[in-house]
């Protein structure tokens, strides 16, 4: 049993995997049609959008220096509205509009990165401000000139909807063609490229990274930029899935993305965490949401349960971490005795 605890303590991903299995087990008993294909496909579609935001958030938090992004949801709304307005009101070609939408995401991320790294404003404040700014811009963009009110747009061409609504061999298109490749690319990028390793170095110890000749600012700026692009991609998938764009599309996602990333083992102090953990965390959140929904619990308790899981996982991690630390100091003690 102790050995088992040690393994779990030293590997957060196993810890998360166990929670996920436990949740699936519980819900498959409570909810009769939990395992139906329709439901699983639904869960995946939802998980992909929150997942892309969580990936963006994870990268930014890993980059350290108090890195956090409260603006992902607002930026999602803004990117989605840009796509919607260009297509629905200015009759742009849909793919040109998509490029503009992705560009909006990239620009939003770059603006955050610029304020954080060149002006040196703490990320919490930068993204608190841009959360307001992007949300306000999304509303302004969505104003229908004829009536002077913010209006949603649902005039998307049919050849756009395959991104969010079609399946390949039963698997949602966006999972197979967009989400899974992004996951593997990010995973590879963090583990095996110089840039990914720099990101951890910068997040772990800014000073040490600087003295070893890394450009802390450049590394972090690019991270915020990538984060923005991921948000843009999520906006494309979302508008295609629901075939409309609303200025309040990302309203609840600002804090949800942070919760998902942190639950996935990304340390809020930076320099720690990986994409596999975040993937497990996305799984946990989607299963929790979906299971509670199918069990007839009110939607607001999905957030409530998420809050409990977040605090519980932080507590559990702290306890296990302390245990691991104690064991480590014990082994160190015995080693130092041996040396004597």
């Amino acid at each position: 049993m102790n050995k088992f605890l040690d393994i779990v303590a030293n590997n957060r991903n196993i810890f998360l995997g166990l929670i996920l299995i436990f949740l699936i087990f519980v819900f498959s008993f409570i909810v009769p049609n939990f395992f139906e294909l329709y439901n699983i496909s639904n869960m995946t579609q939802y998980g992909i959008e929150i997942g892309l935001l969580a990936f963006a958030e994870a990268l930014i938090i890993i980059s350290g220096g108090g890195g956090i992004d409260l603006s992902v949801g607002s930026l999602l709304s803004l990117s989605a509205m840009v796509i919607g307005v260009l297509v629905g009101r200015h009759n742009f070609n849909i793919w040109a509009a998509v490029i503009f939408g992705l560009g909006t995401g990239a620009l939003g991320g770059a603006f955050n990165g610029f304020l954080v790294n060149l002006i040196k404003i703490p990320p919490l404040l930068v993204t608190l401000s841009t959360m307001y700014i992007y949300q306000s811009l999304a509303l302004l963009v969505s104003v229908e000139p004829q009536f002077g009110n913010p209006m949603p747009i649902s005039k998307f061409p049919n050849n756009y909807l395959f991104i969010g609504q079609s399946t390949i061999l039963g698997v949602p298109f966006q999972a197979l063609i967009i989400f899974i490749p992004i996951f593997f690319i990010l995973n590879y990028y963090l583990k095996y490229t110089t840039f990914g390793r720099n990101l951890y170095a910068v997040g772990n110890n800014e000073k040490a990274a600087r003295f070893s000749g890394l450009s802390v600012e450049k590394t972090r700026f690019i991270t915020y930029l990538i984060g923005g692009i991921l948000v843009g991609i999520a906006a494309v998938i979302m508008t295609s899935r629901i075939s409309s764009a609303r200025p309040d599309l990302g309203e609840n996602y600002n804090l949800q993305a942070i919760t998902t990333a942190v639950l996935g083992g990304v340390s809020i102090f930076g320099g720690e965490g990986n994409m596999v953990g975040v993937l497990f965390s996305i799984g946990i959140i989607v299963v929790l949401y979906n299971g509670l929904q199918l069990a007839g619990v009110n939607a607001i308790w999905q957030m409530g349960a998420l809050g409990l899981v977040l605090i519980g996982s932080a507590l559990g991690h702290n306890m296990l971490f302390q245990r691991a630390e104690r064991l480590q100091s014990m082994t160190q003690l015995s080693v130092s005795k041996d040396l004597k």
Binding site: S129, T130, Y132, I133, L139, V143, L255, I300, A305
Partner: protein, 320 residues
């Protein structure tokens, strides 16, 4: 000596914010004749009283280097509980005490998670934010509460020496907490913790207990705001207080509280709240679309922090 004191005053953030407030007041006053009327000014002050009081609590938390995003949800729970108590006909002073106690209780949950369990404040309060919001829903059962007795509404409509009660509460609390933070040992401990937890611990400050106390105080402030909001709006629903935390954080930061801890004052935060309220109020009076509100608030936060950072750089440059 006097000259340095004056120079010191000019350097204070409160001074800059007051300056901006006066300039904006003159600007909006010249654009709209209603802006500087007594009724509009009273209106603005009543509007900021709930945010201002909560900002006092948020200031203490941010000074310790923490943050509390659950403020809006705490406000929601307190609003529901006091509204229910008001409907049962409980006397108003008791309702106020009930609200403060509930706030303190919820704040102590945040405080224990942060101080004794060692969970980073943003994570702990993010979790309690969602959980407390779900509690609001559970307590309300998906309905809303309105038509309170007049005795309860009087918390927001009543006067003391011709000054509306919420404004009295705000100034009273601002004075008490300014004294507490400036002159009481525990108040100074809060700043010490914000500057360096390690140094504070080594010099014998019971850091965990002080942290817990800060979150309890803040919870009490959010509780008082909750009672005022319930009494003023006359309706409590599931989303009462949603997004409130961000307005409070914005006011606190505008008022010169350093988000990294160790710096800030209660008066500054109230001035920050006043500045935000003047902007939103003035925008309505000069007919700017309400949709630009977030845009302008966001830009003002960035500019104000930017000037701080420039000042800090210049100071550092002088030392070198």
């Amino acid at each position: 000596m006097k000259k340095t004191m004056l120079a010191e005053l000019f350097k204070r953030r409160e001074f800059t914010v007051t300056g901006i407030i006066i300039i904006l007041a003159i600007l909006f006053g010249s654009l709209s004749s209603n802006f500087l009327s007594i009724s509009n000014i009273t209106n603005i002050f009543i509007q900021i009283s709930s945010i201002g009081i909560a900002a006092i609590g948020m200031t203490m938390i941010i000074v310790t280097g923490g943050i509390d995003v659950s403020a809006g949800s705490i406000l929601g729970i307190v609003a529901v509980i006091t509204a229910k108590a008001a409907l049962t006909g409980l006397p108003t002073p008791l309702i106020l005490i009930l609200g403060i106690t509930t706030g303190a209780l919820l704040g102590s949950i945040n405080g224990s998670l942060v101080s004794f369990m060692g969970i980073p404040p943003i994570i702990a309060t993010l979790g309690t934010m969602s959980f407390f919001r779900a509690m609001v829903f559970q307590l309300l059962g998906g309905r809303w509460i309105s038509s309170f007795p007049d005795s309860f509404r009087r918390i927001s409509t009543g006067n003391f020496l011709n000054i509306p009660l919420p404004i009295c509460f705000m100034f009273f609390l601002a004075i008490i907490f300014t004294y507490y933070l400036e002159y009481r040992p525990t108040g100074r401990y809060i700043y010490a913790i914000g500057n360096s937890v390690e140094a504070a611990r080594v010099s014998g400050i019971p850091t965990k207990r002080v942290l817990l106390l800060v979150y309890i105080f803040a919870g009490m402030m959010f509780g008082i705001s909750g009672v005022i909001v319930a009494a003023r709006t006359g309706i409590v629903q599931t989303n009462t207080g949603a997004g409130f935390e961000l307005a409070v954080i914005a006011a606190t930061v505008l008022g010169g509280t350093n988000i990294l801890g160790g710096e800030g004052s209660a008066i500054g935060s109230i001035l920050g709240a006043l500045l935000l309220a003047i902007i939103t109020n003035g925008m309505i009076l000069v007919n700017l679309p309400a949709l630009t509100e977030g845009l302008i608030i966001g830009i003002i936060i960035i500019i104000s922090v930017f000037t701080d950072i420039m000042k800090l750089r210049r100071r550092r440059y002088q030392y070198e």
